[in-house]
């Protein structure tokens, strides 16, 4: 058991007169008071612009902002200049997709998978449209797993970039990204990993995975909204043109020309999200104190427990593989996911119903949508019991 609930003020609120059971963590995580306090402290005591002035407040804000890069880098075992702060995972992926939109040619290929979130499909559709490059999708089997043998055939000398989720936000599948990176590198392709659902829930080490780029969002790992991370290998980032242009990202500007600042600042144009960075720092401190291994273990136990309970309910169909993170997508026979979610909500249970920003995957599964329960380390078995009991109510009301 991880005893963390007392740190999360929102977890003690009521919803429709019932205790909140928050099982929508794959959408966004709740924030501990340590994160909320850090942001408050920033605004109350040292808010100012970074990297610009020489006054004391700016020195403190700059230190905190730089420290956030350092902590984030440590967290994923990267170097400090390899960590770029963005708005979110989506923007991080767009920066790299935009680079490829400027450099790919007609016969080049982009490899994605069938289980990607829209944010790792739509930017590449744009890249393909601009360059004429072709997108190929790695297939999933009926359990929602990738087939490594098929991927080996799919990635060829024409492949320039392989972009895939580390963990599926619908199926909870953990993809063998390390093996895939090796296959891609052998063919001379680069690899971008969408870590939106992995970095918050398990240890992720960019050197161990040997990925070229990694994207994730602070808000799914206890941090605030509006700040995300793009990791890139230094030698690659050096040779990529910036995405946004303006202040802070330059070294020298004349009326005719500009030269770019050093990494990572080259990619951080304009006044950055300083309060967000301070919040992310506090979130990382919090996660490290508990330990990512321990978080993974606890969520694994919750997931096993939930799957066992759900499987015993007649009419429940669960999607996805046996080996997974704490994300469970399912349907209740003859009941639309939105009706399930609404009735669960009336019992204080927050889950997501719909296509989860993965419409192509839904189509592949032959469903319109699903209900998704997703856990974090602060969830408990008792909460899963409440959730399962609320499902019985859904069945009763809907006559399913």
């Amino acid at each position: 058991m991880i005893d963390a609930r007392k740190d999360f003020p929102i977890l003690s609120r009521k919803v429709h007169g019932k205790k909140l059971v928050y099982l929508d963590n794959a959408a966004t995580a709740q924030k501990p008071k340590q994160v909320i306090e850090a942001i408050k402290n920033y605004y109350e005591n040292y808010n100012s612009n970074v990297h610009r002035a020489v006054h004391q407040l700016s020195a403190e804000a700059t230190d905190a902002y730089d420290e956030a890069h350092e902590k984030t880098a440590n967290f994923i075992n990267a170097e400090e200049e390899e960590v770029i702060f963005t708005k979110n995972t989506t923007e991080s992926i767009n920066i790299i997709a935009n680079h490829f939109a400027r450099t790919l040619r007609k016969n080049d290929e982009i490899v994605l998978t069938q289980m990607e979130h829209h944010s790792n499909i739509v930017p590449w559709l744009n890249t393909a449209k601009i360059t004429g490059a072709k997108i190929k999708y790695a297939e999933i089997n009926k359990d929602g797993e990738l087939d490594l043998e098929q991927i080996k055939k799919l990635i060829t000398n024409k492949t320039k970039i392989v972009a895939l989720a580390h963990v599926s936000n619908v199926l909870g599948t953990i993809n063998p990204v390390k093996e895939i990176a090796k296959v891609a590198h052998d063919k001379g392709a680069l690899v971008l990993i969408d870590g939106a659902q992995s970095v918050p829930h398990m240890p992720v080490d960019v050197k161990e995975l040997d990925c070229d780029f990694l994207a994730f969002s602070a808000h799914k790992m206890l941090g605030p909204t509006g700040i995300g991370v793009l990791y890139g290998k230094k030698e690659l980032l050096e040779n990529i043109e910036p995405f946004n242009f303006g202040g802070d990202m330059i070294k020298e500007v004349t009326f005719e020309n500009a030269s770019w600042n050093d990494l990572p600042w080259k990619f951080e144009a304009g006044t950055p999200n300083m309060a967000g960075a301070v919040g992310l720092s506090a979130a990382i401190d919090y996660l490290k104190k508990i330990g990512m291994e321990k978080i993974r273990e606890h969520e694994l136990e919750l997931t096993k427990y939930a799957i066992k309970k759900l499987s015993s309910i007649e009419g429940v169909e669960i999607y996805g593989p046996k080996q997974r993170v704490g994300v469970i997508s399912f349907n209740l026979k003859n009941v639309h996911p939105h009706d399930v979610s609404s009735i669960l909500d009336s019992e204080g249970v927050a889950v997501r119903g719909g296509h989860h920003c993965a419409m192509p995957l839904m189509k592949l599964l032959g469903i319109q949508g699903s209900v998704r329960a997703s856990f974090y380390f602060y969830n408990t078995k008792e909460e899963i019991d409440v959730f399962v009991k609320a499902l019985a109510k859904v069945k009763k009301i809907m006559g399913a």
Binding site: D339, I343, G354
Partner: protein
């Protein structure tokens, strides 16, 4: 009363399980399909028009109980009505027809059928003018 039971009253669920006017009309005047992209609800509306009046109306679709029941109730309501009146129907009027109070989050489900018929009628009239 219980919140969920309030939202899923038996009267609504009857329309969901056994909808009125469910099915297609072949070679009809109005045929329009609309979606709620967020939920994936779908409604396709078909209507025969005679002298500016909706003579017959049917729908097909898939989606949540609220969207499908609302389509059943709305098609019952607009049968034999003038298309001018249907075009003018407000969201509030449609929500009033439903046997439940629809929560903010589900209003789009409740109004999908209205949106479909109103758009379908606009296209019908545009074609007639051509």
């Amino acid at each position: 009363m219980d919140l969920a039971e309030d939202m899923y009253k038996e009267e609504l669920l009857e329309h969901y399980r056994e909808p009125q006017n469910y099915g297609e009309i072949k070679d009809t005047d109005v045929k329009y399909k609309d979606f709620n992209p967020v939920c994936g609800d779908e409604i396709e509306i078909y209507a025969d028009i005679k002298k500016g009046v909706i003579e017959n109306v049917k729908f097909t679709g898939k989606g949540c109980a609220i969207s499908q029941a609302a389509a059943s109730i709305l098609t019952e309501h607009i049968k034999s009505k003038k298309i001018e009146d249907v075009k003018k129907m407000s969201n509030e009027e449609v929500l009033e027809l439903l046997p439940i109070k629809v929560s903010n989050l589900r209003i789009k489900c409740g109004l999908l059928a209205l949106k479909a018929i109103q758009k379908g009628l606009l296209i019908y009239e545009r074609k007639k003018h051509e």
